[in-house]
Every structure is written in structure tokens, then in C-alpha cells.
Point group: C2
Chain length 371, copies 2
């Protein structure tokens, strides 16, 4: 199947869109949330489970896989899909965000970025061309352009300079990218400055042009209302006919709010990381499973949830596993949280299909504030 | 179903027996290997997976579950089967072995044993009656008598004194045990002294009498040939019509050798613990998965193995997961090793059924020595 994107329905009262992305590894219904498989595994789960929970696309991290085991090994395996036994779509990021958040001693030049591995301290140079080459070796369905993630806070001058680099790199990524069926997405930076975001869109979307567009540099420490304001003002101005992706977002409430602005794609470590830390999402309240009140509580985490964990285990058992440091605690908690997110996305898509997204959003946000 | 045991076939050339144990939670084909679910979970696996791998009975540890989460909580859940979502047979040990191997400051009196928790240092008294009461609360299918695990080395006098205690406690366990459908097994101690082992069998099997018999105090540091010698001389003298169980054994070779002596039941942490440490059993060689030679090895761990891991993942991927510290490494490795053990037991039972156990044993031991 060739890469493509189709809008199935636009909500009349909000900016929400129901759509479908086509990729060489199958279709993806949007709005979509991609569980994160940083090192080629959605932590603690076998891929069949991830699929059964409702995930249609996952995200893997180029930075991590480049450093370990190395993209040459994954290429030799036949690509990341075969290596990790996941035959549905995969999006790979460019490595940029992790270089800026995980590695040390980074030095940015016009050519690219030199950094030290967070694993063994070895030095590496990643250029836009190298990032594309790695992602081509990984054989993901969607490739992201190397960008510089503008930090928060950054002055207007800093953000402008950073944006220039990102635009320059995006152009080089587009040139470097082989015509091999992988889609290539551009990334909009510009920090918290509306004028820069606007300029970024002109450069990235109009002058260069990609198969989809991400808003980058969000959820990097800025206040939540600023993040939502940028999405509100930027997302609707992204090209109508391409997928819109907000990288690294977010909480269930963030996702519900961003869909309202016309965002189609999300990824975030929140459901999986929180699960490993014993924080479970439910439609009633957040369950901190180590809490002593669950010691003798033989009801499921969420009696309205259809996941394997809620169908078969009690809060008392999950608390026991967590307190005992058992690996199964991570497995069962991750199953629940990923299912919560996947079910949320199903509810979002149903609400858009039924033409009642505004009401859904209002009810969802209100319930979250109550609990 | 009421507890019972049936011998289906006795091997003519060896002591090996093919049998079946009946329990309230179903049948168990013997010789059986019980994966260990120390804290109410076979580490890293959901119970459905353990079952699919071929496990018919598991072992859980009374000591651990008594300390955390507490048998009252598990009783409140409806018993261990419901608590951990495992509806096949469960055997619980008495807690004795762990008190002697894990806890500190233990003091043995005629009444029982006082020890300090390895978790929080709290003090506890376990008597034969308390051990039975805990296992009744856990509602396991097979309950073990509290025994004193005679250490190695121990003088004849020490071993004799220890055995006296074990016999006395066994009598008290039998008196304390309610007639509730759970089977109660006695444990034969006596250290490395044949005369004491013989005496133990007279006391435990003939004078008191239980639903099955275990050889205890093995695999506690004694040389392997001494261990096998004790099994060889003791196991055939255990009552013919009851299951014979060698606790805490062992390696695949040990199991194959003990079956030859007429042993029906085994448990050991070797397959699960080795898996978590990256040591994988195969019919060719033991695979130390972190070894650099597997870095770019895209073949399965064992091409003759039918397990989920071998059907779907390469050595290169398993090595990557292990080196990256991923939880999935433990999951996939455990699946493989448990399957190796379960498949070994299937091969053992088939060999007995086909009347060729001696030849099977010879070939198996020879191949292990070659690899």
C-alpha cells in the first residue's frame, strides 16, 4: 500500500477531523495515539498484545536504535518491523529530540550535531542526511526530519536562529530522502512565538512541502496554557490535506483538547511510564496502586474497562505485585494504561463520526476536573 | 475432583513411572515439573502463558505470601488461585526452607521457629499448625508439612536431632490439617545419612502416613553425586502408590536422572532465574544471550523449539533487549526456558509411555555432555 491520507469527516462545531493514513504496513485511523517503543519494544509488552489493545501504529526512537543495537543490525534483520515482530505501521522520530534531552557535550554546527552517547560516552555526528539514512535502514513507514528542538525558555532571537537551522535541515532531509515508499514529515518549530511558528509553516509546508507536519518543541517545560495556545493557533493553519501531528503530547486531557484544534496524531510515554510507576488511568480517578487503601480491595482497577488486567485481576493483586517489585506488575499496569489511551482514541473517533465532538470534549474535561 | 494418584505405567528397565495426580483444580501428568511462582506469579509471565507453555501445576511459596501480602488478604480474595488468576493445581511449600535460607535471627524451639522477615525485619513465629493454617488460607491443592531443612554439611548427631524435629512437626501438621480436600505431603529429611533417611521414611511414611512424599534437604550445597546417591537409595523405598517429589531439583540432567529413580514431581527456579539472567536452554548448547557473537545473529535461539520466542524473535533481538535492560527480555527469555522444561517433561513422559526411558536418558545425558 502506498502512503496516503484521507479525511473521512470534519466536525462542524470544532476543528476535529476523522481520517485515515495509508502506509506500506497498513491503515491507521486518526486521530491516532502511538504507544512509544523507544528501543524497539513497547516496554514490557509483546507486540501481539499492543495490537490487541487497539494500537495501529507505534513510534520508535532513532537515537536509541542508532546507538543500540545499531541501525545496520536492524537493517540486516530486514528492518525494524521484522526485528521487533511488529507488522503494522511504525513512525520513527529523527533523533533530534533525544540528542538534545539525553546526550551530553552536544555541539551544533551547520553540518549537523555532534553529541556524546548517554550509554557509553562515544562521540557521534548526526546530520540531516545521516538521520534520514538511519531511518531508511530502520525501514519505518513514516520518517521525521531532523530538527532542533527549541528549548523553553528561549528568546525570540534564539528561537529564530534555531528555526533557521531546522528549516535548513528540513530542506536537506527532503533532498536526501530516497523515493522508497517511506513518508517524510516536516517539523514546525518556532518556540512560543506565533510569528515564528507562522514563518516556519510558510517555509516547511509551502516552500518545501512534506507528507505530513508535526508541531515540535511542545511539552518541553512551557506552561500548559501556552502549549495549548500554540496548538490552537498553529494547527488549523497547517495544510488541510496532510496529517497533523503534535509530538510528545500528552495527557488524556491534552489529547482531547488538541483533537479539537484539528490534530490527527499523538505519541507520548505517559501511559507506559506511568504504568511502570504504578499510576493507572481510569474514567473515575487516577489509581496510585501502591496506596494502602487497595491492600484488601478485590475489585478491578476500573470496572468499566474491558482490558485483560481489569477482567482478571484485583487492585489487591496489582498492589501486591507492585510492592513486591514483580515484573508482572509492569506488564499488567502497562496493558491497562495503553488500553485506556486506545479506548480514549476510539471514543474520540466515535464522537467525531457521530458529530458530537464538542459535547464529548466538554463532558470529558469536566469529569477529569471532578475526579 | 478429589485428590488422588494413579500410576499409568512403570518402566521395565528403570524405576521411571508414568502417572497422574488428581486434584480439586484438575489433573497433573507425572513426571511433572512445577514452575515456581514465589510471590504468586511465575516471574514476568501471565498465567495463561504459563499454561500454554505446558505447565499443569505451579509451586508457590508460603513464606513469601505469608509476609506479603499476607494469607488473610489472599483468603479474602477467595484463595491463591483466584488472587493470581491461575485455575490449575497449586502446590505450596511449608515456608520452612525459606525461613532457613532467607530470614535472619531464627531460633528453633520445640514449638516452632521464630524468625525475622527479610523484608522489614519484623519477628514471626511459625509453628507446624501455623504453616498448615496459612496454606489452608491460600487454598492450595497440595500442602507441605513444615520441616527443618537439614543443612549441608551436618554431623550425624545434628542431622538426627534435626530429623526428630521434622518428624515431630510432621505429626503435628497431620493433626492440624483440616479435612477440606487439600492433600498433605510429608517430607523426608536425614541429611546425607542413608540410615537416617531410612528412619525418616519409617516414621513419616509408615507411622504417620501422607498423601505424597518429598525428599527434602537436597540441592542445599552437597556435591551432585551425593544428591543423586540419596535419591537413588531413597526414592525407590518411598511408598509405591503415592507421588514422590524431590524438592528444589533441578537442572535438566538432574531431572532426567531422578525420574530414573522413580521420582514423579520436581520444582526449581533454574529455568525462570536463568532466563532473567540471560541463560537460555537449548538441545544444542546453553545460549548466553549477552554474548557478542549473537549481535548480528538473526536465527532463533533454538530452531527446533516451538515456543513463541523462537517462532518470532532472533538472537540478535533478544540480545538487544537484554543489553538494553528491557523488561521484554525477561518475558521472552522466561517463555523460552519454561517451554524447554515443559517440553523436556513431555519427552520424558513419552519415553516412559513408549518403554524406552533408559535409551532416552542415555542419549539425553550424552548430548548434554557433548555440548
Amino acid at each position: 500500500m502506498q502512503y496516503g491520507f484521507e479525511i473521512l469527516k470534519k466536525d462542524s462545531a470544532t476543528g476535529a477531523r476523522l481520517g485515515r493514513i495509508y502506509t506500506p504496513h497498513g491503515e491507521v485511523n486518526t486521530p491516532v495515539f502511538m504507544p512509544v517503543a523507544t528501543q524497539g519494544t513497547v516496554k514490557s509488552l509483546v507486540p501481539e498484545t499492543v495490537r490487541e489493545l487497539g494500537a495501529e501504529m507505534i513510534l520508535s526512537n532513532t537515537y536509541h536504535l542508532y546507538l543500540r543495537p545499531g541501525h545496520d543490525i536492524i537493517n540486516h534483520a530486514g528492518g525494524l518491523h521484522k526485528f521487533m515482530n511488529w507488522d503494522a505501521p511504525i513512525l520513527t522520530d529523527s533523533g533530534g529530540f533525544q540528542i538534545f534531552s539525553l546526550s551530553s557535550l552536544r555541539k551544533i554546527t551547520n553540518d549537523g550535531v555532534i553529541f556524546q552517547s548517554h550509554i557509553d560516552g562515544s562521540r557521534h555526528l548526526i546530520t540531516p542526511e545521516v538521520s534520514v539514512e538511519i531511518q531508511e535502514a530502520l525501514r519505518s513507514d513514516i520518517v521525521m526530519c531532523l530538527d532542533e528542538c527549541t528549548p523553553y525558555p528561549a528568546s525570540l532571537e534564539e528561537a529564530e536562529k534555531s528555526l533557521e537551522m531546522t528549516v535548513n535541515w528540513a530542506r536537506r532531509c527532503k533532498i536526501a530522502k530516497k523515493d522508497n515508499g517511506q513518508a517524510l514529515f516536516g517539523i514546525i518549530q518556532g518556540g512560543i512565538y506565533p510569528a515564528l511558528r507562522q514563518k516556519a509553516m510558510e517555509e516547511i509546508c509551502l516552500k518545501i512541502g512534506f507528507d505530513g507536519y508535526a508541531l515540535g518543541g511542545l511539552s518541553v517545560g512551557e506552561p500548559k496554557d501556552i502549549m495549548l495556545e500554540i496548538v490552537e493557533t498553529s494547527a488549523p493553519n497547517l495544510p488541510e490535506d496532510k496529517p497533523r501531528y503534535v509530538m510528545g503530547v500528552g495527557t488524556p486531557e491534552d489529547i482531547v483538547a488538541c483533537v479539537d484544534c484539528g490534530v490527527d496524531m499523538f505519541d507520548c510515554v505517559i501511559p507506559t511510564r506511568c504504568a511502570r510507576n504504578g499510576l493507572l488511568f481510569t474514567n473515575q480517578e487516577k489509581v496510585v496502586i501502591k496506596n494502602a487503601r487497595y491492600k484488601n480491595d478485590h475489585s478491578p482497577v476500573d470496572s468499566t474497562c474491558d482490558c485483560y488486567t481489569c477482567r482478571n485481576y484485583s487492585r489487591a493483586y496489582l498492589r501486591h505485585l507492585f510492592m513486591a517489585g514483580e515484573i508482572l506488575a509492569m506488564v499488567l499496569n502497562t496493558i491497562h494504561n495503553v488500553r485506556y489511551y486506545m479506548h480514549l482514541m476510539e471514543r474520540i473517533r466515535t464522537a467525531i463520526r457521530d458529530g458530537c465532538y464538542a459535547a464529548f470534549k466538554k463532558a470529558y474535561i469536566e469529569r477529569q476536573h471532578l475526579s
